[in-house]
């Protein structure tokens, strides 16, 4: 049996199998989920790229950028457009959860090892992981969704509700003023810009590094584009889920198609572009924030 970590280090999802027999790939994300991530990050990049110049409108790059694209009229138009796209994506996701969890009574949506909802094991994993960081214990065995992945999910989930609500409150201020007090109209800008800034800083630094740039996945975790990962990767990253599937004899049902080379290359271009845009925005944000 090949050392799993060796395979991971050798090439990730795209790596040629180095064990005996053909390389097997296992499905982690459905096509719908991958497209959802695509819509999410494209609209998020759009919102960040148009939101930051408004937040830091006194900085030179904000004015340069604004005049290059046609002033704030253009900026706010794209900001609202991306917001609408993201809102639709969010509503589709809510409907999906509702259908799977409430209508079809699918098990494991709201609780259990495959759920996004945090549980006691996540707390233990967080503590155990931190102990492993400083050499005080073994690396915890993670399930389908690790605690930092759940945090990413909920941060985005609540972020969208808070940023979305405050954004629409500003967009349709006279309407919202029918049931919100006047001071709330002042507050929504503070909430919108601070929560937006948090989301931008978090995604472009923490999420990028945790999910893509750390040594285990460097330079990019392709699973969110291809939907599949190699057996070695699966076993190394999520041993608990893997072992459970083996024990229940369901491993075969998760075997997916090997990703096409052209798709991997295409996804790499898209992914690296997104990361590059994100890192550029991060640098500009930090430079404006501390100047």
């Amino acid at each position: 049996m090949p050392d799993p970590e060796q395979t991971v280090a050798a090439g990730g999802a795209n790596g040629a199998g180095n064990g005996a027999g053909p390389q097997r790939f296992f499905t982690r994300f459905t096509a719908a989920q991958r497209y959802m991530h695509g819509v999410l990050f494209s609209s998020f990049l759009g919102l960040a790229a148009t939101g930051l110049p408004m937040r830091f409108s006194q900085s030179f790059w904000a004015r340069k950028f604004a005049s290059a694209v046609g002033g704030f009229g253009a900026i706010i138009f794209f900001h609202k457009l991306c917001a609408l796209v993201l809102t639709v994506a969010f509503l589709i996701h809510l409907k999906d959860i509702f259908t799977r969890g409430i209508v079809n009574r699918e098990k494991g949506i709201f609780w259990g090892p495959n759920s996004m909802v945090a549980n006691w094991k996540d707390v233990k994993d967080l503590v155990g992981h931190m102990r492993w960081f400083v050499g005080l214990g073994k690396r915890p065995t993670f399930g389908r969704y690790a605690y930092w992945e759940k945090f990413d999910y909920w941060a985005v989930f609540w972020g969208m509700i808070i940023i979305g609500f405050s954004g629409y409150a500003m967009w349709f201020a006279p309407f919202f003023a029918r049931f919100l007090p006047g001071w709330a109209l002042n507050a929504v800008l503070v909430v919108h810009s601070e929560e937006g800034l948090l989301a931008i800083l978090f995604i472009f630094s923490i999420h990028f590094v945790n999910t893509h740039l750390r040594p285990d996945t460097f330079p990019m975790d392709m699973v969110v584009f291809t939907g599949v990962e190699s057996e070695a990767e699966f076993k190394h990253k999520r041993p608990e889920e893997y072992d459970k599937l083996v024990k229940e004899g369901k491993l075969e049902s998760r075997v997916g198609p090997a990703p096409a080379t052209w798709w991997i290359n295409f996804a790499r271009v898209i992914g690296f572009t997104a990361i590059l845009i994100g890192l550029t925005l991060l640098v500009l944000t930090l430079s404006a924030y501390f100047s």
């Binding site: 005049s67 704030f72 930092w148 006279p174 507050a187 601070e194």
Partner: protein, 395 residues
């Protein structure tokens, strides 16, 4: 000018009576001075174009009327300069005490052009015809040399690109303000002189000569009242609009450069405005506009919020905000366009919300930055360890 026309009239009458004499007198002089190449001992041209002179406003005059020292022929070289004030006494009196009083540096001809081809100011050929005035003044006031010598700005380029300059040079509007409209012509005084038309206190009246409606509004506003009461810190027209580089006030360039002008004095209001959506978007410019100071406060007739006529009086807010925000209601206008999120006493809700958001941002990022850095170090160590044991295996 009255004097000139009287003389012209008198001479005109004389023309009929003594035409042969006059013609003979001038043609005697032109027999020599009509030669285009004629020069005096020091090499200066002393030639006169008789046709041009005849067409000029001084055409009916005889040479000796101005060149009084020359009485016979042959005549000695003329030393004494021609004295224009002999006829133009009012203008000469105006020049006394003015910035151009020194006749050596500023002879009449420096503005009125060649002495033998002077035209009335209503004639487009005249150097002081309204459309030609800026170019005439610009001969000196459009050069860096002038700026250095007298500590004056080179204002001609500023003026010519201004709304007045455009009206004059592009549209050919005779009523467009030229230099002389504001500064006067002969009795031009420094703007530091309380009698000057461009002295701060006098500027509203100077601009008001044309912009009468605006001047009336201004006088009723807080700034106009302050100036009238002798508070020289209050702004006059030129403080917001500039003196020479005046732009069309509805233009984006003017709109975006002018909020900081109000901010020069209203520092705290400007800083809190900067924190709002109005300012954030407004700073970026473009084809959509957000509220700037005067959109809510008014531009010329600015009144305190306590005045029932003020657009920012409580009773008028729904209407004022509603000009942009269709559907604005009583609750909507509770929005504070100058809220200060750092002031706990004035804006407690905003203060605590801002504090909470900042704490959230700082704590989440701090935790995850530490978490991620430790993770990176640990994972890299594992990788290195793994590689070295592999190396050992294969050795």
């Amino acid at each position: 000018m009255k004097c000139v026309s009287t003389i012209a009239l008198a001479l005109g009458a004389l023309l009929f009576a003594a035409a042969p004499l006059r013609a003979q007198g001038n043609s005697d002089c032109l027999a020599c001075h009509g030669d285009a190449g004629m020069q005096d001992a020091s090499g200066h041209s002393v030639s006169v174009d008789g046709h041009k002179f005849d067409a000029s406003i001084h055409g009916p005059l005889q040479c000796k009327d101005c060149h009084t020292a020359i009485k016979e022929y042959p005549h000695p070289e003329q030393k004494a300069p021609v004295k224009c004030e002999t006829c133009h006494a009012d203008e000469a009196a105006g020049l006394v005490g003015s910035v151009h009083a020194d006749g050596k540096d500023h002879p009449c001809t420096s503005c009125h052009g060649d002495a033998h081809s002077i035209f009335p100011k209503s004639d487009p050929k005249s150097a002081v015809y309204p459309l030609n005035v800026p170019r005439t003044c610009g001969q000196c006031h459009g050069t860096e040399g002038m700026a250095k010598k007298h500590g004056l700005a080179s204002v001609y380029p500023l003026y010519i690109d201004s709304i007045h300059g455009f009206a004059l040079s592009k549209e050919g509007l005779l009523v467009a303000a030229n230099c002389q409209t504001c500064h006067g012509s002969h009795h031009i005084l420094s703007h530091t002189d309380p009698k000057s038309a461009t002295y701060k206190v006098n500027i509203p009246a100077t601009c008001g000569k044309c912009h009468a409606g605006i001047a009336t509004d201004y006088e009723q506003g807080v700034h106009g009242k302050a100036i009238a009461a002798g508070h020289l810190d209050a702004p006059v027209c030129s403080d917001c609009h500039n003196a020479h580089a005046i732009l069309q006030p509805t233009e984006a360039v003017f709109r975006s450069q002018s909020t900081p002008i109000c901010g020069n004095c209203h520092k705290e209001k400007f800083s809190t405005y900067r924190d709002t959506f109005h300012s954030q978007l407004g700073s970026l410019g473009g084809y959509v506009e957000t509220a700037r100071c005067w959109d809510c406060h008014g531009a010329h007739e600015i009144l305190p919020a306590s005045d029932p006529r003020s657009p920012i009086n409580k009773a008028n807010l729904v209407k004022t905000c509603g000009r942009c925000h269709t559907g604005a209601n009583e609750s909507f206008v509770q929005y504070q366009p100058h809220a200060n999120a750092h002031n706990r006493k004035l804006n407690p809700a905003l203060y605590y919300i801002g504090l909470f958001m900042n704490l959230l941002l700082v704590s989440v990022l701090t935790f995850f930055v530490i978490h991620t850095i430790l993770w990176l170090i640990r994972q890299r160590l594992e990788q290195v360890k793994r590689k070295s044991t592999e190396g050992g295996k294969h050795a």
